[in-house]
C-alpha cells in the first residue's frame, strides 16, 4: 500500500512542530510548575514582568529538576541542588564556587506565548515557531463570549480524545442523561476538510430539547416550551484543537440559514496536549454568547460540562486499557468516523513532514475474525 492507512495506527505519535497548551495562563506564576508536554518535562514559570517561560526541567549540571527550585531576580530560576541559576533564555547566570561561568552551561528554553487564556509552548524546530500558527480559540478571550473550563488529566493517547470529539454519536450512549438523544445517531452529517482543518456539521430539526439545552433556552427565554432545531458543528484545527459550535433555536426560526437570534449558542473549546504516548492534558471550556454577565450560568455550565466529560474520561481510560490489553487486535471503522479519520490523516501528514511517521507505525496486527 502506497499510503499508510490510518487504521493501522490505533494511536498516533504527536507532531512536534506545533503549539500545545502548557497550561492555563493563571497556572504559570513565580512559583515554578512541573509539567510534561509531548514527552518533554518542562519547568514553567513567569518572569517578574509576567512573561511566560518554559525551560527543560533538568539542570545542565546533574539534571536535578529546576521546577523544584525557585525564581530569582528579574527572570531567573535557581536549581534546588547546587544553586546554579539560569535566565529565561536558559543561559547560566551563576555557578557555585567559581569566578566565571562555563559558556556551555545552558538548558533548552522553548518558545512559549500567552494567548486565549492559555500559555502555548512549541517543542519542535524553534525556527518554525510562528505564533500565527496558534490554533484559533478566540472565543476564550473575546468580550462577546463568556465562560470557563477545567483540565482533565486523561490516561489515554491524545488521539483517542480527538476521536471522541470528532464523532458525537457517542453522546446518545455515554451522555444519555444530559445531552444525548436518539436523533443524534439518526441524523445525517457533512464532513469537509482542508490542509489544517476538518469540519463535521450536523443539524437536527424539530426535535425535543434534551435537558441541558432546555435549561439553557430557559436562561435566555424564560419559560420556554416547545421543539427546537439543534446543531453541532465540529471544527478541528491541527494537531489537537477542537471547537464545537453547539446550540438550539426555536424550531423553524431559521437557525440553519444563519439567524440564530431565537436560540442559544455555545462553543465547547477543547485543546489536547499529549503528555506521554499514553496520557494527555485535556484543556476545555464552555463559552456562551448570551447572559454574559451571569457568573451563576458560567458556574452551572462549567459544572454541567464537568459532569458530562467525566463520563468521557471513564470511557477513554477504559478504551486505552483495552487497547493495551489486546495488542493483537485491530481497529475497524464506521461511516461515523469520517471526521476522526480525516483528523488522523492530517496528523499523519504532519508526522510524515517531520520524518517521524515511520516511527509511529506499529507492527500490523491480525484483524479479529480475519
Amino acid at each position: 500500500m502506497s499510503h499508510p492507512t490510518s487504521t493501522t495506527n490505533k494511536t498516533l505519535a504527536h507532531p512536534l512542530n506545533a503549539w500545545y497548551v502548557a497550561g492555563w495562563d493563571y497556572e504559570l506564576t513565580r512559583k515554578p510548575l512541573a509539567r510534561t508536554i509531548a514527552n518533554r518535562p518542562l519547568a514553567l514559570f513567569r518572569t517578574e514582568d509576567g512573561r511566560p517561560v518554559a525551560l527543560a526541567d533538568a539542570c545542565w549540571h546533574r539534571l536535578a529538576p529546576l521546577s523544584m527550585g525557585k525564581t530569582l531576580g528579574r527572570d531567573e530560576i535557581q536549581c534546588p541542588y547546587h544553586g546554579i541559576t539560569y535566565n529565561s533564555a536558559g543561559r547560566c547566570t551563576s555557578m557555585p564556587a567559581q569566578e566565571t561561568i562555563n559558556p556551555s552551561a545552558t538548558v533548552p528554553s522553548f518558545p512559549i506565548v500567552d494567548r486565549y487564556r492559555f500559555a502555548w509552548v512549541w517543542l519542535g524546530d524553534p525556527e518554525k515557531a510562528d505564533p500565527a500558527l496558534i490554533p484559533d480559540m478566540h472565543q476564550m478571550s473575546s468580550p462577546e463570549w463568556a465562560g470557563d473550563g477545567e483540565t482533565i488529566y486523561a490516561p489515554c493517547n491524545y488521539q483517542l480524545v480527538l476521536d471522541n470529539l470528532m464523532d458525537l454519536t457517542h453522546e446518545e450512549f455515554v451522555h444519555a442523561s444530559s445531552i444525548g438523544q436518539e436523533e443524534l445517531s439518526a441524523s445525517d452529517f457533512k464532513v469537509t476538510h482542508d490542509d489544517r482543518t476538518v469540519t463535521v456539521a450536523r443539524w437536527m430539526f424539530d426535535i425535543e430539547a434534551p435537558p441541558f439545552w432546555l435549561k439553557n433556552m430557559r436562561d435566555k427565554f424564560p419559560g420556554f416550551e416547545g421543539r427546537v432545531d439543534r446543531w453541532q458543528i465540529i471544527h478541528f484545527e491541527a494537531p489537537s484543537t477542537i471547537r464545537i459550535d453547539v446550540g438550539v433555536a426555536k424550531a423553524g426560526t431559521g437557525a440553519a440559514d444563519g439567524d440564530r437570534s431565537q436560540g442559544v449558542n455555545g462553543y465547547v473549546m477543547n485543546t489536547i496536549s499529549p503528555e506521554t504516548d499514553k496520557t494527555c492534558h485535556y484543556f476545555w471550556a464552555f463559552m456562551r454568547n448570551y447572559c454574559l454577565d451571569s457568573q451563576l450560568i458560567t458556574t452551572q455550565l462549567r459544572n454541567g460540562v464537568h459532569g458530562v466529560f467525566g463520563e468521557d474520561e471513564a470511557m477513554l481510560k477504559a478504551q486505552q486499557e483495552a487497547i493495551d490489553a489486546n495488542p493483537d487486535y485491530e481497529f475497524y471503522s464506521l461511516n461515523i468516523d469520517a471526521g476522526g479519520m480525516w483528523v488522523r490523516r492530517l496528523i499523519e501528514r504532519m508526522l510524515e513532514a517531520e520524518g517521524r511517521l515511520a516511527a509511529t507505525q506499529e507492527p500490523q496486527p491480525a484483524r479479529v475474525g480475519a
Partner: protein
C-alpha cells in the same frame, strides 16, 4: 585545539560564484553529505596557503532546507593571511574539503526583542538570523554598518527584505554607527546578536557593561581561544610522582600527562569545566591561559592552570629559546 567533537569532514563542489560587493564573492557549495545549516552556523574549509594546508572558518549565509546548497561569502582582505585568496581563486566545479555545519552561535527563539548587528563582512553570520526573526514576526531591528555601500554585501536585498526594520550606517556617507547610543537605548529584555570587526564588537561589549545590561543577552561567536602565543614544546614535572615528560607542540599537556601515566582528572577537554586544573609549584616561563574557566584575576595569578588547553611558553621578554620552559605541578 578544535574542541567540537562532532566535526565531520566531507567533500563539496563549487557550483556557483557571484560577486556581491567590492571584494566579496558569494561561493555556493554542494556538499557530499548535506545537513541543514541553521542560522549562526559556519563551515571549516581546508585551504592551501603558501603551499601549506590550513583551515579557515566561513559563516553559512544561506542554506536550503535540506542543506544541499550552502552559500558562503568571502571577503578578500588586504591583510589576508591567504585563506581568502585561496577561496577567491576557486572556479566553478572546483572540489573542496569542508566540514558539515558547525554551530557556535545559535539563535534563541523567544526573546521579547532583538538587535541583529552586522559590521561589514560580519553580515554573513547574522543574515539568516534576521530572516528567521522576520518570518516569525519577532520584534527585531537589523543594524548594518559598513565603510561604503559598495563594500556592503547583500545591502539592497536586505533593505527590500527588512524594510522599516533595517537601519543602515555608512562611514563614507557620514552616518557611522554610534555604539553607545545604540546600546544605551536597549531594554533589558533585548538580545543582541553581533558579528563584525573586533573593534566594533569590543565597543559593544564595553557599552553593554557600562549600561549594566545582562551579559548573557549579548551574543557573539567565540571561535575558540587559540591562545596568545604560538604553541611550543615544554617540560612538565610532577615531583610527588618523580615524573617528567615533554609536551610537544601539537599535543596538549593533558594528553602528555596521560601518555606518561599520571592519571589526571578531566572532563570537557576544552577549557570550560575546570576539572583538569593543576596546581603550579614552579615555573620557568609564562602560562598561556587558553581556558574560559578562570577569571582574568585568576589567570594573572597563575597559581593554577587548566592543563587541557593552556600551555607554557618562553617569556616574550627574554626571547631565548635555547632551553625549553619547565613547569612543576601537583595533580588532584
Amino acid at each position: 585545539m578544535a574542541a567540537n567533537s562532532s566535526t565531520v569532514w566531507q567533500r563539496g563542489r563549487v557550483v556557483e560564484l557571484r560577486d556581491v560587493a567590492r571584494d566579496i564573492r558569494r561561493v555556493v557549495i554542494e556538499p557530499e553529505s548535506p545537513v541543514r545549516a541553521a542560522p549562526g552556523t559556519h563551515v571549516d574549509i581546508a585551504v592551501v596557503v603558501n603551499g601549506e594546508q590550513d583551515v579557515r572558518s566561513y559563516s553559512v549565509v544561506e542554506s536550503d532546507d535540506d542543506g544541499t546548497r550552502l552559500a558562503l561569502s568571502v571577503f578578500r582582505t588586504p591583510t589576508s593571511r591567504g585563506g581568502s585568496v585561496f577561496m577567491h581563486g576557486l572556479g566553478e566545479g572546483a572540489e573542496v574539503e569542508l566540514t558539515q555545519p558547525l554551530q557556535n552561535f545559535p539563535l534563541r527563539v523567544g526573546a521579547a526583542r532583538y538587535i541583529i548587528l552586522a559590521g561589514g563582512i560580519g553580515v554573513t553570520a547574522v543574515l539568516g538570523m534576521a530572516r528567521v526573526l522576520a518570518r516569525l514576526g519577532a520584534d527585531y531591528r537589523f543594524v548594518y554598518a559598513g565603510r561604503s555601500r559598495e563594500a556592503m554585501a547583500y545591502l539592497d536585498e536586505l533593505i527590500d527584505e527588512h524594510g522599516d526594520r533595517i537601519e543602515v550606517h555608512v562611514d563614507a556617507e557620514g552616518t557611522p554607527l554610534d555604539v553607545p547610543s545604540l546600546v544605551g537605548g536597549l531594554g533589558r529584555d533585548t538580545e543582541l546578536y553581533m558579528c563584525g570587526p573586533i573593534r566594533l564588537m569590543d565597543a559593544v561589549r564595553r557599552a553593554w557593561q557600562d549600561f549594566g545590561l545582562d551579559l548573557p543577552n549579548l551574543r557573539y561567536e567565540t571561535f575558540g581561544n587559540s591562545g596568545w602565543f604560538d604553541p611550543e614544546e615544554f617540560v612538565v614535572r610532577i615531583p610527588r610522582l618523580g615524573l617528567e615528560t615533554v609536551v610537544p607542540k601539537d599535543r596538549s599537556m593533558l594528553e602528555a600527562l596521560e601518555a606518561a601515566g599520571a592519571d589526571p582528572m578531566f572532563d570537557c577537554r576544552k577549557g570550560e569545566c575546570g576539572l583538569c586544573e593543576v596546581e603550579v609549584l614552579e615555573l620557568t616561563g609564562d602560562i598561556d591561559h587558553r581556558d574560559v574557566f578562570y577569571s582574568q584575576r585568576q589567570q594573572e595569578a597563575s597559581a593554577k592552570m587548566c592543563c587541557c588547553v593552556s600551555r607554557v611558553v618562553t617569556p616574550a621578554a627574554t626571547g631565548s629559546r635555547e632551553r625549553k620552559p619547565v613547569i612543576s605541578i601537583e595533580l588532584s
